[in-house]
């Protein structure tokens, strides 16, 4: 045990490990805040669709030799989120099909562009890093840490300020607009915030695994708690604790950060399901 602690103390002397932990916690917090709403609105898949858009955009940014890809990836992802969420129920191509289409389309085109334009000698490694986030969380620069922190604060502020409105719009959109709440505006706001979270989370777990960060904490919390406030608080707590745990395990065991966090989330989900089952039986 002392071995493990010594190892951790050693690792935490390096700033990049500390950065990884800070950004990891912030991302886990933001994604779980929105997760509850996304799951309840039946939008779980949108997270995954948008992350593929972000992957495609990253590929384009790499091809254009942008030093800071976020300035390109973020607007593109926000735009896609707005299109997907606002098309909603009235679109000619229904929600899930539209998401699936955009999702695989951008993935394929992204990989194609990376192959055609990348000057990197380690293409497979680059692609793997973007998809699974293998090392990117450990290579964050100071600027990126500040950017992540600023965006997270923004997401949390929006959520706190509009908490009741988000609840109302999630529970019953028609009622909200009928009684004078601007449901469309709040949907738009949600879309923007979701896009920001996705782009942030790409650093931590990579494009393919983002949905897990969004969905698992919310679903775990919903197994046990039965009102919106408790579910939201529990899901945030669960997400942050599991992210920290995942990062620590990956540092000690040398496993990839993203998939380790997701594995902890999955284990947590089963633990919560069991707890919920026992509570209902007693």
């Amino acid at each position: 045990m002392t071995d493990v602690i010594d190892k951790l103390v050693l690792y935490f002397q390096y700033p990049f490990v500390r950065y990884a932990l800070i950004v990891g916690v912030l991302i886990a917090l933001c994604s779980s805040l929105l997760g509850v709403t996304l799951v309840l609105k039946r939008f779980s898949f949108i997270g995954s669709g948008l992350s593929h858009v972000a992957f495609g955009a990253t590929a384009v940014a790499v091809a254009m030799n942008l030093t800071n890809s976020v300035i390109f990836v973020l607007p593109v992802t926000i735009l896609s989120a707005v299109l997907l969420l606002s098309a909603g129920r009235n679109a000619k191509i229904k929600g899930d099909a539209a998401v699936a289409m955009i999702s695989v389309g951008t993935l394929a085109v992204g990989y194609l562009i990376m192959n055609m334009f990348s000057k990197s000698s380690n293409l497979a490694g680059d692609v793997c890093a973007t998809l699974f986030g293998s090392t990117s969380i450990l290579t964050l620069s100071r600027t990126e840490v500040w950017l992540s922190a600023a965006l997270s604060v923004l997401v949390i502020a929006v959520f706190l300020l509009f908490y009741h409105k988000i609840f109302a719009v999630t529970f019953d959109e028609d009622f909200s607009s009928a009684t004078g709440i601007r449901a469309k505006t709040y949907n738009l706001l949600l879309a923007v915030v979701i896009a920001v979270v996705i782009v942030l989370a790409m650093n931590l777990v990579g494009a393919l695994l983002i949905s897990a960060l969004v969905i698992f904490p919310a679903l775990s919390a919903m197994r046990v708690f039965k009102n919106f406030k408790a579910v939201t608080i529990c899901s945030v707590a669960v997400s942050v604790v599991f992210a920290v745990l995942g990062i620590l395990i990956s540092v000690i065991a040398g496993t990839p950060v993203g998939s380790t966090i997701v594995a902890v989330d999955i284990a947590g989900f089963f633990a919560f399901s069991l707890t919920g089952f026992i509570i209902r039986r007693v």
Partner: protein, 238 residues
């Protein structure tokens, strides 16, 4: 001046007309029942009255300074709500949201309004219970309490008795009648012609793409449309 007046409304979606030539007025304190077959455009009409849809032509005039934020609405339940983790109190309070403006939290007054409405509908003891675990009748009461929080002048109900057992349905109608007698204008969509003619003051009967009848209950029962529909429904005209 009527609270709500519709002039020659045409409703439809994707270029298809569902119903046209709708003209009717609702005065303060009226109890209007909208009846008609499935697909006749009742729900579309209600959504248009609520500004959720725009009419293809014609206009809706509101009188007496009726604002969007003074309307209560009780929609039919959606699939999303069936497994939504929310307490009854959270659901009912969300009806007060249109009083908040940009303020992020509920004021004391708004919380009290929610408590009063739960009390009024006899669900105060369920306040902490999870919405999805309630019986159909209790869920409808929670939605009605939420609508009441938003309704300061007028309340619109879309088949409030749908899916309820006869006892719960009768309770629901009695509650709405009580609200109406206390001064709230009621507009209700209903399949239940017997209950409609029992409680309503006015009837709007839509069918065959147009308004078959609009007028007071007494006139409706004498009219051809009323008699045909009441008999077809198997109910005796009250």
């Amino acid at each position: 001046m009527p609270q709500l007046a519709c002039q020659d409304l045409t409703l439809g979606y994707e270029g298809k007309t569902v119903v046209s030539g709708l003209s009717f007025t609702v005065n303060t304190g009226d109890y209007l029942c909208i009846v008609g077959e499935n697909g006749s455009g009742k729900s579309t009409l209600m959504k248009t009255l609520l500004n959720l849809k725009t009419p293809a032509s014609g206009q809706i005039l509101t009188g007496g300074g009726l604002l969007q934020s003074e309307i209560g609405y009780m929609p039919q339940q959606t699939a999303v709500q069936k497994d939504f983790p929310a307490s009854v109190r959270e659901v009912v309070r969300s009806g007060c949201l249109n009083r908040c403006g940009l303020r992020p939290f509920y004021s004391k007054t708004e919380k009290q309004i929610a408590e009063d409405n739960m009390e009024k509908l006899g669900i105060a003891d369920l306040a902490k219970r999870c919405y999805r675990e309630l019986s159909g009748g209790q869920q409808q009461r929670a939605l009605l309490a939420r609508a009441l929080c938003a309704a300061r002048k007028i309340i619109l109900l879309d088949e409030p008795a749908a899916g309820l057992d006869p006892k719960a349905a009768a309770d629901m109608y009695a509650l709405t009648a009580k609200l109406n007698s206390e001064g709230t204008t009621v507009i209700m969509i209903s399949h239940d012609i017997a209950a409609s003619v029992k409680y309503a003051s006015h009837i709007l009967h839509i069918g065959a793409g147009t308004a078959l009848f609009f007028g007071t209950k007494a006139d409706y029962l004498k009219s051809g449309a009323g008699r045909a529909y009441a008999t077809a429904d198997g109910g005796e005209p009250a």
